[in-house]
């Protein structure tokens, strides 16, 4: 076993519940190990190549107060993490409560059940690893219709290579409440810094509630980013998400949505853009458990260099979950001869009265479109850029909030 698992004294080890929780995660990670090409869920991503560089958990990070600060170009309420450590948050609008997770575990015993209930460690080795180091992260409680976006930032400052940052968040949206949450992962300093971010988000959406979840992953080029978003939606609830994966050498954004009650709806969209030698993985798993549930997925990617794009999408429809709809579309564009895309869209259907479909297409940049633009005096590089932007714009356009949409768009540019 690598240095990923170490015996480190963490805050709260004296709490039996927490100690037990961490131990279970540890045991599970030891028994599963780092996934290999033979692990079906990680068949294409093969994290062992990246994890050959040893990473070890970084419990305290930099103690200095950082001179850097990250601002998003729109009005938002920020929750600020530096090197995986909770730093501060802006003044909170009405209807939002933010607490460090460790505080919740210590003082709000009724919420303990929610931690670990959605992110199954049996199926997700990195969630097990995350549980073993359960410490940093926040609890976000939304109890009204909140209009100001909540922006969660994890900012990596220049650090020695080889650190692993472990984050765990719990989001609870009360019945008939709504909010927009933005996750933003960024770094400062050397583009080649090598670190690993391991995030687990557990999200509970109440009856008639809505959560719009946007994420931009813009880590350093030699970094790793592994995220699991586990969501459960009650009756008539809505979970809408968009994730742009742009940085990192190994990146995986996995979204698992359980449509647990009638009328629950989810929309899981994603875009990825990659060059170099990176592997970028978008994995979704939508479980329709009850009738009249609906899911929509659109994932688009652009891959250049020797990079590899991976999409694994699964729609599961339980027996009796009739009158459900599940749609999924994945499209990838390969810009170079060494680029690669591996796709596994999966349907698992046990009910007859459903409408379900998935589609997948991959190909190169349309030469005719390129020619058309060049013949009208647009330089080749510029034309390429326009076409790629248009290609990804399809999915970015699904972001309702204009400020956030424009901000996400600003990350797309410069391809070879």
């Amino acid at each position: 076993m690598t240095k990923l698992l170490q015996d480190i004294k963490l805050i709260g080890d004296e709490i039996p519940w927490l100690k037990d929780f961490r131990q279970k995660g540890k045991d599970e990670f030891i028994s599963q190990g780092i996934p290999t090409a033979k692990t079906e869920a990680w068949k294409y991503t093969k994290p062992n190549r990246f994890l050959a560089n040893d990473f070890s958990f970084c419990p305290q990070g930099s103690k200095d107060i950082s001179p850097y600060s990250i601002e998003v170009p729109f009005k938002a309420c920020q929750i600020y993490f530096e090197n995986g450590i909770f730093s501060h948050h802006d003044e909170l609008p009405e209807g939002i409560e933010v607490l460090p997770l460790i505080e919740v575990i210590m003082f709000h015993h009724d919420l303990r059940d929610k931690i670990g209930a959605l992110a199954e460690i049996k199926a997700h080795p990195f969630a097990a690893l995350n549980s073993a180091y359960l410490n940093e992260g926040v609890y976000i409680h939304i109890s009204a219709n909140v209009t100001t976006p909540i922006v969660f930032v994890n900012h990596i400052t220049p650090q020695p290579n080889g650190n692993m940052y472990n984050l765990r968040n719990l989001v609870v949206v009360d019945d008939n409440s709504s909010a927009e949450v933005v996750e933003y992962y960024c770094y400062e300093g050397d583009i080649k810094s090598s670190y690993l971010v391991n995030v687990v988000n557990e999200i509970y959406i109440g009856c008639g509630a809505a959560l719009k979840h946007y994420k931009v992953q813009d880590e350093a080029f030699k970094a790793g980013h592994i995220a699991l978003n586990s969501v459960k939606i009650k009756a008539d609830g809505l979970y809408q998400s968009f994730c742009l994966q742009k940085g990192a050498d190994l990146s995986r954004n996995e979204t698992k949505v359980v449509l647990a009650e009638e009328g629950a709806t989810t929309e899981v969209n994603a875009a990825y853009m990659m060059n170099g030698w990176a592997t970028i993985d978008t994995t979704t798993d939508i479980e329709h458990l009850k009738p009249f549930t609906k899911s929509l997925q659109l994932v688009k990617g652009v891959i250049g260099g020797q990079a590899k794009g991976v999409f694994q999408g699964k729609i599961h429809i339980a027996p009796q979950a009739v009158k459900t709809e599940g749609y999924q579309l994945h499209k990838a564009m390969l810009l170079s001869d060494e680029a690669e895309v591996d796709v596994k869209p999966e349907l698992e259907i046990f009910a007859d009265d459903v409408k379900c479909s998935h589609g997948s297409a991959s190909g190169e940049l349309d030469q005719e479109q390129l020619f058309y633009m060049q013949s009208r005096g647009v330089g080749k590089d510029k034309a390429k850029q326009i076409l790629i932007d248009a290609y990804l714009n399809d999915v970015i356009a699904k972001i309702d909030n204009e400020n956030i949409r424009l901000w996400v768009k600003s990350f797309i540019g410069e391809h070879d």
Binding site: K344, E346, D352, D353, S360
Partner: protein, 485 residues
């Protein structure tokens, strides 16, 4: 649940006892002792009078098989197979090989007659089909060989081919599916008893459709067929394979291999209708069907097309594949799979694009009813040198009733930017509107369902040769018989 669904479930319940071909022919079978070891393999080999190289190859396969683990990735659940409790060789007892139909065991001929195989000369003439009928494991009669021989076409049992054309067999046997390929292919390589061998010489367009009926008969006999088809430059052949098996209580194992080699500008069309005993309506009995089928398009402009209609077997594990090595080669896969009661099918295809400008097309239609589960599992792989590869995949599933399952697991691996790959899959039920439309025009419910299902499968059925298309349409109706109303 609406009325139709309720009806469908009842219908699906009733459909189980309709297996038309359930009978056992009473012939003295020459069976090797139960169990599997190197001695059994030597015995099989010596009974068939095989040369040493083949025996050694079998033994190597057996040795390797012992190191392998039975795969468990498929969405199938069945009791563990005890490979030591099976008998690995069974040939109808006959002292001398028959030279004409008159010499063939009468009860054998009657069996074929019941199955409706046009084995007799005049029946063959009527259908203009050459039948290399395989009863259990040994070819008992081969017709129309003279006419084929005129053109230089070799169509014989594989044991005969081993004797008469050892060079060809040795050159190609295991070259498409090596014994190390997978668990069941390895088992087959060690113990295969018989099968068909086809060689189409350069520039020959085979004058008729070649066909084989496989049949599992003797009790407790695993069936291990091995088919090898070689289409030399500029040749063409259409090969039909159809299967029916008698009703049995015990599960029967079938692990076959089909290897096809296609050289420059040649084309092979391989069609299958599979209707082995699917087990009764409680899921008892039925054939276990683990098949490895693969075609290698080695030459330029080579073309292969797989068409299959799968209605039988309790367990189906089958992925006819195309390895598109030659530039401009193309592969096609058309499939209709129907599962009812407790049948389980995990089937699909693999398209491996290696040569430049290769194209492939996959059309898969799945219909599940009763308590059955069906999975489409496919792989489309484009290697870095396969410039301009094209693939189009369409998998549609139809569910009848709320207790069945239909799954789609495609794998798409693209390593070439000039490749264009498209995949589509849909799942739905028979729409109430379509049914209503038929009903109000005076078409009975059952008839309407069969009409709609036949329409659903049409894209695949039209790729079947005539004789098969008729049989297949009948089979679909039998499989869904009583499933409505």
């Amino acid at each position: 649940m609406n009325e139709l669904n309720k009806n469908n479930i009842e219908i699906a319940d009733e459909a189980g006892d309709k297996y038309k071909y359930g009978f056992v022919t009473d012939i003295k079978a020459d069976t090797v002792p139960v169990g599997l070891n190197a001695d059994i393999i030597r015995l099989i080999s010596s009974k068939k009078g095989e040369p040493d190289w083949l025996l050694n190859w079998r033994l190597k396969a057996f040795e390797f098989w012992q190191t392998m683990v039975e795969p468990s990735w498929a969405k199938l659940s069945y009791d563990k197979i005890d490979y030591q409790s099976l008998s690995y060789y069974s040939a109808p007892k006959q002292k001398v090989a028959p030279k004409s139909l008159a010499e063939v065991d009468k009860s054998l001929l009657e069996t074929y007659e019941k199955l409706g195989i046009p084995l007799k000369e005049q029946e063959v003439l009527a259908g203009v089909v050459a039948v290399d009928a395989v009863f259990d494991s040994v070819s008992v009669a081969t017709t129309y060989r003279a006419k084929l021989a005129e053109q230089g076409v070799i169509f014989s049992s594989i044991s005969e081919a081993v004797r008469e054309h050892p060079d060809l067999v040795q050159q190609y046997l295991g070259s498409v599916v090596p014994y190390t390929d997978n668990f069941f292919a390895c088992l087959n390589s060690a113990v295969f008893t018989d099968g068909s061998f086809v060689y189409i010489p350069k520039g020959v367009k085979c004058p008729m459709e070649l066909s084989t009926y496989f049949r599992i008969n003797a009790k407790n006999t695993g069936q291990f067929e091995r088919t090898l088809i070689i289409a030399d430059d500029d040749s063409y052949v259409s090969y039909l394979e159809g299967c029916t098996a008698p009703q049995r209580d015990e599960n029967q194992l079938h692990a076959a291999i089909v290897e096809i080699v296609i050289l420059d500008n040649a084309e092979v069309k391989y069609s299958t209708v599979q209707n082995w005993y699917p087990g009764d309506k409680d899921g008892k009995g039925g054939v276990y069907n683990f098949v490895t089928k693969r075609a290698a398009c080695r030459g330029k402009n080579a073309k292969v097309s797989w068409t299959q209609v799968e209605t039988g077997s309790a367990i189906t594990w089958k992925y006819p594949s195309c390895v598109l090595q030659g530039d401009n080669s193309s592969g096609e896969f058309y499939s209709v799979a129907i599962t009812n009661n407790h049948q389980q099918a995990d089937t699909g295809t693999k398209m491996i694009h290696i040569g430049k400008n290769t194209t492939s097309k996959i059309i898969s239609k799945g219909i599940s009813a009763g308590f059955s589960n069906q999975t489409y599992r496919g792989l489309v792989k484009v290697s870095p040198q396969a410039d301009n590869a094209r693939n189009y995949t369409q998998c549609d599933s139809l569910l009848i009733g709320t207790t069945c399952g239909s799954h789609t697991v495609p794998y798409i691996e693209n390593r070439n930017s000039s490749a264009l790959l498209e995949h589509e899959a849909t799942t739905s039920k028979i729409s109430d509107e379509q049914l209503f439309y038929c009903r109000q025009r005076g078409i009975g419910e059952e008839e309407a369902v069969s009409l709609i299902v036949n329409g659903f499968c049409k894209e695949v059925m039209q790729h079947l040769p005539m004789e098969f298309a008729i049989e297949a349409a009948k089979l679909i109706n039998i499989s869904l018989e009583g499933s409505v109303g």
